[in-house]
Each structure stands twice: as C-alpha cells, then as structure tokens.
Amino acid sequence: MDLTRRAFLGRTGLSLAAVPGLGLLPGLDSLCVLPAAGTRCLVMLELAGGNDGLNTVIPFEDPAYHAARPVLRVREGQHALEDGVALHPRLGRLAELYKEGSLAVVEGVGYPSPNRSHFRSMDIWQSARPDQERPRKGWLGLAAAALAAAGARRPAMALGQAERPLCLEARRIVVPAIDSLADYELWSGGGEDGRGRLAEVRDLATARGEGDDAVARLLKATAREAAESAARIREATRSYRPAVEFPRTRTGRDLELAAKVLSASIGTRILHLRQGGYDTHAGQDRTHGNLLGEVGDALAALARDLRARKLWDDCLVLVFTEFGRRVAENRSRGTDHGAAGPVLALGGRVRGGLHGRRPALDDLDGEGDLRFTTDFRGIYACVLERWLGVEPTRILGGRFDGPDLLAAT
C-alpha cells in the first residue's frame, strides 16, 4: 500500500455534500457563465490502460505505419474515413456515426513532456494539472462544484464503478458512484418500523458535528449522499424503457445505465464511465479488437437510444485514454507505453470530421513515440466553456486553445 494521492488528511477541508439553495459557495460562483446551458450533458468515457491510437485511427496509406508494425498492422477490413485515415475493423458502427456527422476525431492529442506511467499520466489527464505533483481535484469535479454552487443538484456521477475517478473529485461536493443500479438500494431488516427508525438514527449520526475532522466529514457526507441518492435515482430511473437493445457486454450495460440516468432528467450533467484492459503489451491483436468492438457497439447503441429520446443533441461523449502506444511494435506481438493519440467526440451537436494535425510517423520523439499536436486541455477548454458553460481558465490553470468541436451553440 502506498501513500495515496488523496491522503494528507487535515489539509483537505472536505465539507458536507453540497445542498444547493444554501447560497453560492465562495470562489466558485464566478466560474459559471451560461446557466442557459443547463440541459447539456457530458459523458466522459475512459479507456484505461493506454489505448493504441495508431490501430484505432489508422493512417493506412502511410508506408511508415506498415513498416513499423509488420505483425500488428491492420491490413484489411478497416473503415476508411477520409484523408488516408481509417477506423479499426471492429469500429464499423462508429464509422457509420462518422458518415452521419456525429463523430469527431482529434488526432495527435497529448501534452508536453509525456509521462509513460499509467498512474501519473492518468492523473494528468484527469486533473488537467501536470504542474501538480499529487493532484487531488479533477477538472470535472471543479466544474461540477461550480454547477452545484449555481444550483445544480447532484451534477456529476460515476457509473459502473464503485470508486470515484480523480476527474470528478473536488472539495465541497460528494459525487455518487453507482456500480450497479440493481444493487444501489439500502436494505434494512426489521419491517417498516425498523426502517424508519434506523433512517432517523442514521440522520442523527451523520449530522455535522463540531469536532469533525476531514475523515468524519467525508464519512458522514457519503452516508447522507448514499441514502438520498439510492432512493432518488432508483425512483427516477424506474420508468426507463430502452429504445434500442444495448449489447450484453460490460460497456453496453454501463452505457445503458448512462442512458437511464440521462433520460431520468434528475439534473446530472456530467457522467464518467470506464472500460479497462487497454494495456496491450502482449498479444494485442485479438484483445484490442474485442475491446474496440465492445466500446464501438455500445456507443452506437447509446447514440441511437438518446436520439430516439431527442436527447442526442444535448449530449456530448468524449472518449479518452492516458496515452497512446509506441509506434513500433514489440517482440511480444504488442506495444509499449507511448505518448500522443486520438480523442473521439460524439454527439448531436458535434462538428463531425477530422480535427487537429496528424503527427508525422517520420518525426518521432526521443523514445520513438508520436509527438502531440493538440494539447488535451484545449479540448477541455472548449467543453467547459462552450458546452457546460463553466469558465475554464481557473480550472485548467491557464488558457488553452483547441479544435472547434461543436457546431454553433
């Protein structure tokens, strides 16, 4: 067990779950810009392990690609997009979305001085603060806190996971994590009476106390959030009927849960989901294909479901990973940790097509990795300001430019 990122108690100053309507919390009210952007939702889909971007968005007309990957190169079945680039053979459904104009691909996304440690690089993507040694706040946590300060109730949620991701962490809010909706229910024996009694006692036990330190505040706030959200979310999602059949895969189920939460209109604007397994050091071919097939099909189902509910125009999905992988394959029929890679954006108001500048395969960095051409924080800035209506500079620690991913909003 390591000294954790989120340790050093006594300095975190966590407070109880934000109960909106108690007035704007100091410092955060200035972050909100467009309250009218109130219905737009962001779904952050994390591909954990380092997705091999070069075999996802394939420069199949570049001889250098084929030369670097004699075993792993994609030879046939790829879905051509345009301009010499194609999607992996298992991403057919996403290729369809591309043709419809709902999919944007940003090539060559990364950041300066790329770090090749899973943990460090993911911390950087989730905090957007490479200057922080051990970040404890996430860019979307800060955005959610700003939304909460402006009156949003439960603006963010982690789905399909029991642990909150760093990107959703912030002081002053407690973000619920729902692993499985069916299990997200408090069971209490002892009949109706017993349930009521225990609920009352629970309220007493979790009320703010004078001697409370940061640990106590976290525990109490979480207990209250769990009790409140368990009832609220199950009730709100009870009437959901899927408009399409979601794939019976882990990612399919997670995105169906996302669809449920979004269509329940309970005010949640930011969702985070995660698909693991992308750290393909060995035997990449089949594993990577299966992962991409799973995520592509699940995303296509989400798009169809939300479109049927007329929610697709108000939804933006961002697919990201902590780093791309090395251009040259290794001797284990896999690839090692690399640097820059593509980011995908999907949604009804996305400006579909290719964005950014493709990194040159003949101009790699000292480690043999792709050089980034778009800083990921430029994408975040666009999402924060133009999609969520939250001022980006304080959250990102500076001004960043990025591709214009959204149609006029």
Binding site: M1, D2, L3, T4, R5, R6, A7, F8, L9, S117, H118, A158, Q161, A162, E163, R164, V174, P176, A177, I178, D179, D183, Y184, E185, L186, W187, S188, G189, G190, G194, R197, L198, E200, V201, R202, L204, A205, A207, G209, E210, G211, D213, V215, A216, L218, L219, T222, A223, A226, S229, H281, A282, N330, R331, S332, R333, G334, D336, H337, E367
Partner: protein, 321 residues
C-alpha cells in the same frame, strides 16, 4: 496470486531483498507483467518499470526512462515453465548494460540488488510502513528516520516494525483514527471484536462488492486505499452487509448469534459500546445511539440487539482506526 500471497506471509517480515527476489521470480509477477515475452532483442519494459515505480524506488525517484529500458534487458529470459520460475539462457541479453549508475553485464538479480540498495528504496518502504501502521498524517521526518533504520538493519522489515510499533508516533493520539478501514479490515473488525464467524465465501463476496476482491486487485499497483474506499456505492454495500448480518436473515451464517455474545438482558450497549469503540463516540453518534435505545424500549431483545449492532457497525467511527 494465491502463491504470491503465500510468499508475502512467509517472507514479509524478513529481509526486503529476499522478498523482492521471490516475488520477482514468482509466476504471478512474471505472467502479469509480461516477462514471459521479455526477450533478447526486443525487451518488454513492463516489469522493469513497475519494479522501480511501485515496488522499490517510488515514482520518478532516482531512475529515468533509460534505466527502465536497460533494466528490462537484464530481466530477459526470466520466464515460467510448469508454473515455476525458469531462466531461459537463450532468450537472455547478456550484453553490457547501465542501470542506476552502474555498468556491467547486469542480470536480473544484479538489478534487484541495485534497486533495493538504492537510498530511495529505504524511503519508499519506510513510507509504506508508516502509511499502513500510523496513517497518512505521519510526519515526513518519520520517513527519514525509519528509512535509516531500514538501512541499518540491511532491509530487515521485522526490525523496522519493531522500532515503529514501539515508537511514540505509533501511540500518539493525534494519529489515531486517521486511517480508513478497507473492506476486509472493516469486515474483520465487525466479526472479531465480538468473536463472531461467518461463511468465508459470503465474506469474500461482500468484500468484493465493497471494492476489494481478495487476490484480484484492479491492477499491479494494488488497490487505492483510504478515502478511495468510501463512495456512495461502497457505503451502500457496507450498510447492507451490516443490516443483513445483524438481522435474523443473516443469522444462519453467523456463529455464534448476537444474543450469545452480548451479556446482559438489556439492549447490550453497556457491553457493545466500549467493546467496539474504546476511544468513545462523537456527539452525533452518541445521540443517535441514545435515541435508538429509547425507540427500542419494549421490543424483544433480539430485535433491539440487531438494530443496535447494525447502527453501531455503520457509525462513522466504525470506519476509521
């Protein structure tokens, strides 16, 4: 993984270099970090990177990318045959290497020697021991002190623990309650403080839902701990576990029953309070317990005990130590 766990039990308190050596040669580590395919000519860096970052030196402490690449070459040929370590000479890169400032025809054992002897390793291990036995609020000076003990004792972990567990810091009241009980820690506390037992299978399932499936860590770094254990989802799982265990439905699994371990014929708080919470309770919790006591008057003892246990096990104080 079970094999690796046995290694921890057997060698965890001994010289750290011995533990590192056994774990590095274990099938779990070799398989998980792709060392079976780490061969001469195309080294696979996975194991070398995590060796430095997670197990010996700590992230970015005293090593650079070039060290990872060179160290990977040193571990070529370390593979498995019939579920046991096997060194494949033909796959090993015996050439000159430079790792952590040392040059030579370094092999895997030599790199392990260098990593453990590095000053960053002493600090890394000291920090881990302090985080576990004292808590996240342990002062930085303690790390330096314990690291010095580690070095002086040639990496003997038992000696480090001896010093740590006898130190003023360990007994400092300001350090009490700074750690959050992980799923297994909390479940065992619930059972052991009252001398209860339950089906191991059920406990394993429960801990897995709370985020800790034993022998199945989410990745090679193990579990994120402390505050990461606490989310609304895991809280619901803990609550449900406490409720089921305390109620009649949980009874068949629970040996002995609550009525058998709690003396007296009242609701049992006179016994349960001090047993579970020797440091006492905060105001909110104390009030809650009093209220529960009042509301339970007149109910059969079994029900009062169940309600009380469920409540006590889920007080905020129950989840920290």
């Amino acid at each position: 993984m079970a094999g690796q766990w046995q290694v921890f039990r057997r060698l965890g308190l001994g010289p750290f270099r011995t533990l590192v050596g056994e774990v590095a040669r274990g099938p779990a580590m070799i398989r998980w970090l792709d060392n079976e395919t780490n061969v001469k000519g195309r080294a696979n860096e996975n194991f070398a990177r995590e060796l430095f970052e997670l197990f010996t030196l700590g992230r970015d402490q005293g090593y650079v990318e070039a060290d990872v690449k060179e160290a990977a070459r040193a571990f070529t040929g370390w593979t498995i045959r019939k579920d046991a370590f096997w060194f494949d000479h033909s796959k090993h890169d015996g050439g000159l290497k430079r790792v952590l400032g040392h040059e030579g025809r370094l092999d895997g054992e030599a790199v392990l020697d260098l990593a453990v002897a590095h000053e960053a390793c002493a600090r890394h291990v000291a920090a881990k021991l302090l985080a576990c036995f004292v808590g996240p609020a342990a002062p930085p000076e303690a790390v330096a002190e314990l690291a010095a003990v580690f070095r002086a004792a040639d990496g003997d972990v038992a000696r480090c623990l001896e010093v740590l567990l006898g130190s003023e810091l360990f007994f400092d009241p300001a350090q009490r309650g700074t750690r959050i009980r992980g799923p297994v820690e909390w479940i065992l506390w619930v059972l052991r403080t009252l001398g209860l037992r339950a089906s191991p299978r059920a406990l394993h399932r429960a801990a897995a839902r709370m985020g800790q499936a034993l022998l199945e860590p989410p990745d090679v770094a193990g579990w994120d701990e402390e505050e990461a254990w606490i989310s609304s989802a895991t809280w619901i799982h803990r609550q449900n576990f406490a409720a089921r265990l305390a109620s009649a439905e949980g009874r068949p699994e629970l040996r002995p029953g609550l009525e058998d371990v709690v003396p007296g014929d009242d609701d049992g708080y006179a016994y349960l309070g001090p047993t579970l919470f020797p440091d006492g309770l905060g105001q909110g919790s104390a009030r809650a317990v009093a209220r529960l006591g009042e509301a339970g008057r007149g109910l059969p003892r079994e029900q009062r005990l169940a309600g009380l246990c469920e409540t006590l096990w889920m007080l905020p104080e129950a989840h920290r130590f």
